[in-house]
Point group: C2
Chain length 119, copies 2
DNA sequence: TAATGCTATTTAGGTTCGCTAAATAGCATT
DNA sequence: AATGCTATTTAGCGAACCTAAATAGCATTA
């Protein structure tokens, strides 16, 4: 699978995934990256330059809020993010939209595959 | 739902949808646009400036091929597109990837929603 | 024959997203 | 002091989709 496709498919949904991870539990950029990389076989490896700008964007949009934690035992200081009330609402809408979107795309796929079978 | 999200979600999958439509039956740009607009409630309205460039891109990549039809009874001439052999192969891979991608995204959503319930 | 409306394609320019790549910095271990 | 791990920041790029408008053929109708 050409990596270009993977990149494009992510657009929009990667932001939703970050909101899901932050909504599940308070977390920070580096942890998000390592968690995402558990799904690297599908999503590819998440890089800093991808994730941190999304976090800034989400904070700018007031969907997440930030709490600075002092430097840990081993490593630098972390920025813990959690969902704002607005973030919870938007995430709910995003998930609803995603579900409809998924159904719509699968509809087009099903139509194509029915064609193949009938040939 | 903010229209920005719709736009982003489409990236990648819109190309796959066009391949599905072309794979189902030989078709042309204008017809694709009108068919897509049956799903406008989810995808938004497809515009010329979106669809035609995708068709050129797909042809450039040799995933679809083109047959020029003379001007119809009412209207201008059409360019009928069909899948190449390579296009069929790539579409198959795209559908397989989409399925995995979908599962992956739904996994993140499920994790978030389980969190909500347990609270 | 001029005007309108529908079909059909083309293209210029813009925005946003995710990616590449590298830099910065704190702490622990050796 | 050097290395390795954790953790964040940022500059610049390419690709995808969108906005908006232009172009053109044919049919109908006034």
């Amino acid at each position: 699978m050409d990596n270009r496709y993977v990149q494009q498919f992510k657009k929009g949904s990667l932001e939703m995934i970050l909101l899901c991870l932050i909504g599940r539990k308070e977390t920070y950029g580096y942890e998000i990256i390592t968690e995402l990389n558990n799904s690297a076989s599908v999503l590819g490896y998440a890089k800093e330059g991808t994730i941190y700008p999304i976090l800034y964007r989400l904070q700018e949009a007031e969907l997440i809020k930030c709490r600075l934690a002092p430097a840990a035992a081993n490593g630098g200081s972390k920025k813990f993010y959690s969902l704002t009330h607005k973030g919870q609402e938007v995430l709910g809408e995003l998930i609803e939209f995603w579900t409809n979107y998924e159904d719509c795309v699968n509809g087009f796929i099903a139509t194509y595959q029915q064609t193949e079978v009938s040939e």
